[in-house]
C-alpha cells in the first residue's frame, strides 16, 4: 500500500517536470475540457434534477410534524444539495464516467505502445497526456458542481410544486432562508479536490497498465473503485476542515 502511494506521488511529480510548451498544453486543455466537462453536463444534469426531486419528496414524507414549517423542506433540499449532492454525489458519478474513460484511454495507449512512441520522441508522456486532463478536471468539476447545485434545487422545486406538497412561494422562501453563501464555496472546493483525485488516480491506474485488454479493463475498474474511496475519504476530511 505504501509503495503504491509512493509511486503515485512520484507519478504526480513527473507531471510537472520536463513540461512541453504552453501552446501544446492549451490545445490539449481545451480538448480535455470538452471531453471531461462538456460531455458530462448531460449526465450531471439528469442526476442532479432527479436527486433534488427525490430529496424533496423524501424530506416532505418524513417531516410529518405540524409544528415544522413547510419551507424547511426546500431549506433541507438546498443544504443537502450544496453540501453533499452537488459535489460528492456528482463526483462519485463522474468517477465512473470520467475515471474509467481516463484509465481506459491511457491503458490502451500503454499496451499499444503509443506511450512508448511519445517517450522515444523525447516527450514526457505523463506530463503531455495527464497534465491537461488534470487541469481540465480541476477547472470543469467546480463548474459542473455549480450546475449540479442549481439543477438539484430546481429538481426539488419541480417535484415539490408539481406534486403539490409545497407551494412555489414556500419553496423559494425556504431556499433563501438562513442562506450561508460559504456553502457554495464549500461545494466548489470539494469539486476541485475531487477533480484532482479522480483525474490523477485514474491516470495513474491507466498509465501503469501492463498486459492486454483484460488488464485495461482491470485498470478501469480499479480507477473507479480507488477514485470513489479517495473521494469519500477526502469528503470526510473536507467536512471536518470546512464546516
Amino acid at each position: 500500500m505504501l509503495s503504491v502511494i509512493g509511486r503515485y506521488l512520484i507519478f504526480l511529480g513527473k507531471l510537472f517536470t520536463r513540461r512541453e510548451s504552453l501552446k501544446v498544453y492549451w490545445k490539449r486543455f481545451i480538448d480535455e475540457c470538452i471531453g471531461i466537462g462538456v460531455s458530462s453536463v448531460f449526465i450531471v444534469a439528469i442526476v442532479a434534477v432527479f436527486i433534488g426531486a427525490v430529496v424533496c419528496l423524501q424530506t416532505r414524507a418524513n417531516l410529518v410534524s405540524p409544528i415544522i414549517p413547510i419551507y424547511v423542506v426546500s431549506n433541507i433540499v438546498r443544504d443537502m444539495t450544496l453540501l453533499e449532492l452537488s459535489s460528492t454525489f456528482m463526483c462519485v458519478v463522474l468517477a465512473g464516467k470520467v475515471g474509467s474513460n481516463i484509465a481506459g484511454e491511457l491503458g490502451t495507449m500503454k499496451i499499444t505502445e503509443q506511450i512508448d512512441a511519445l517517450e522515444v520522441m523525447g516527450i514526457n508522456s505523463a506530463s503531455y497526456l495527464v497534465l491537461p486532463k488534470l487541469l481540465a478536471a480541476v477547472f470543469t468539476f467546480p463548474l459542473l458542481a455549480i450546475i449540479s447545485g442549481f439543477l438539484g434545487i430546481f429538481g426539488g422545486y419541480l417535484a415539490g410544486t408539481l406534486s403539490g406538497i409545497i407551494t412555489p412561494e414556500d419553496y423559494v422562501y425556504g431556499i433563501r432562508y438562513s442562506f450561508i453563501p460559504f456553502n457554495v464555496f464549500i461545494s466548489i472546493i470539494k469539486a476541485f479536490v475531487f477533480g484532482f483525485l479522480i483525474s490523477t488516480i485514474s491516470a495513474f491506474q491507466g498509465y501503469n497498465t501492463r498486459g492486454g485488454a483484460l488488464e485495461v479493463g482491470q485498470a478501469s475498474t480499479s480507477a473507479v473503485t480507488n477514485s470513489c474511496i479517495a473521494v469519500l475519504i477526502a469528503d470526510y476530511l473536507l467536512a471536518e476542515l470546512l464546516t
Binding site: V24, T112, Q114, D116, A117, V120, M121, I123
Partner: protein, 250 residues
C-alpha cells in the same frame, strides 16, 4: 553508428539479456534475429532507453545515451525514428496528424513547411491521398507504412523497426522490407530491425546478429548465415522447410 556494449538485463531474477555487445554501422540494415522470448525486443527497448539495463551502455556516434541530462538525451532522441510492432499510431489523430506530430512537438517549422514534409513522407511510403483517414480506417500494412513515415519525418540518423512484418501477408511483408532497405540506403541511416522473419534476413540483412536465450551467439551477413554457423542458429534458420530443402540441394 550505434554501439552497444555489454548490455545485461534481468526481470525477476530471470536473465533476459546477458552481456550483449555489437556495432550497427551507418547506411547498413542490421537485423537482430532470434526465436520469440530471446530478448530481441528488450534489447531494442534498452537501446531506446525505454528499459534501463542493469549493466552496459549504448553509444550513438560515440555519445553515451545513459549519461547526461535530459536535454542531451533529447538531442539524441530527435535523431531517432522508431517503427513499433503495431505501428503505435495515435488513435485520436488522422494519418496526416500522426506523421506531423513529431514536427509539431520538436521543431519550429511553419505550417506550410510541415505540410510539405508530411506529403513527401506519405508519398515516399506510397500512401498519397490517405492523410485524412483515421488509423482505425486503414489496414495493418498501411499502418506500418504510416509508422515508417512518422519515423522518417524528422530525417533520423537512426531507424529502429520492431518486427515490421508481424501480422502481415508475405507480399506486404516484402514490400515493407524493401521500403525499409530503400530508405536506409537513400538517407544513409543506421537501421536496426528486430525480426524473426527469414525472408527479411535473406533480402535486407546487411548484417545479422543472432540472439539465443539472451546471449549473442552469432554475427555475420545474409550469405554466411546459410553456411555453417552454430547449432542453435541452424535450427532457427532451417526450421523453414523451403530453406531446408534449398540447403539439401533439392
Amino acid at each position: 553508428m550505434i554501439e552497444i556494449k555489454n548490455i545485461s538485463k534481468s526481470f525477476n531474477d530471470r536473465m533476459v539479456l546477458d552481456n550483449v555487445s555489437g556495432v550497427f554501422k551507418k547506411g547498413e540494415t542490421s537485423l537482430v534475429i532470434g526465436a520469440s522470448g530471446t530478448g530481441k525486443s528488450v534489447l531494442l527497448k534498452c537501446m531506446l532507453d525505454l528499459v534501463r539495463p542493469e549493466a552496459g551502455t549504448t553509444l550513438y556516434d560515440g555519445r553515451d545515451f545513459y549519461i547526461g541530462d535530459e536535454e542531451d538525451k533529447k538531442d539524441i532522441r530527435r535523431e531517432m525514428g522508431v517503427l513499433f510492432q503495431g505501428g503505435a499510431l495515435f488513435d485520436s489523430k488522422t494519418v496526416h496528424q500522426n506523421i506531423q506530430f513529431p514536427l509539431d512537438m520538436l521543431t519550429e517549422m511553419g505550417d506550410g513547411e510541415k505540410k510539405d514534409r508530411v506529403e513527401f513522407c506519405l508519398q515516399r511510403v506510397g500512401l498519397e491521398g490517405t492523410g485524412n483517414r483515421m488509423p482505425s480506417e486503414i489496414s495493418g500494412g498501411m499502418k506500418k507504412r504510416v509508422g515508417i513515415a512518422r519515423a522518417i519525418v524528422m530525417n533520423p540518423k537512426y531507424l529502429f523497426c520492431d518486427e515490421p512484418n508481424s501480422g502481415l501477408d508475405p507480399l506486404t511483408s516484402i514490400k515493407i522490407d524493401e521500403l525499409i532497405k530503400e530508405i536506409t540506403d537513400e538517407f544513409e541511416i543506421t537501421t536496426v530491425v528486430i525480426t524473426h522473419d527469414m525472408n527479411s534476413v535473406l533480402s535486407i540483412g546487411d548484417k545479422i546478429m543472432f540472439l539465443h536465450k539472451g546471449k549473442k551467439l552469432w554475427e555475420g551477413n545474409s550469405q554466411a548465415i546459410m553456411g555453417d554457423t552454430v547449432p542453435e542458429l541452424e535450427e532457427f534458420v532451417f526450421c523453414n522447410k523451403a530453406l531446408s530443402l534449398m540447403r539439401a540441394g533439392k
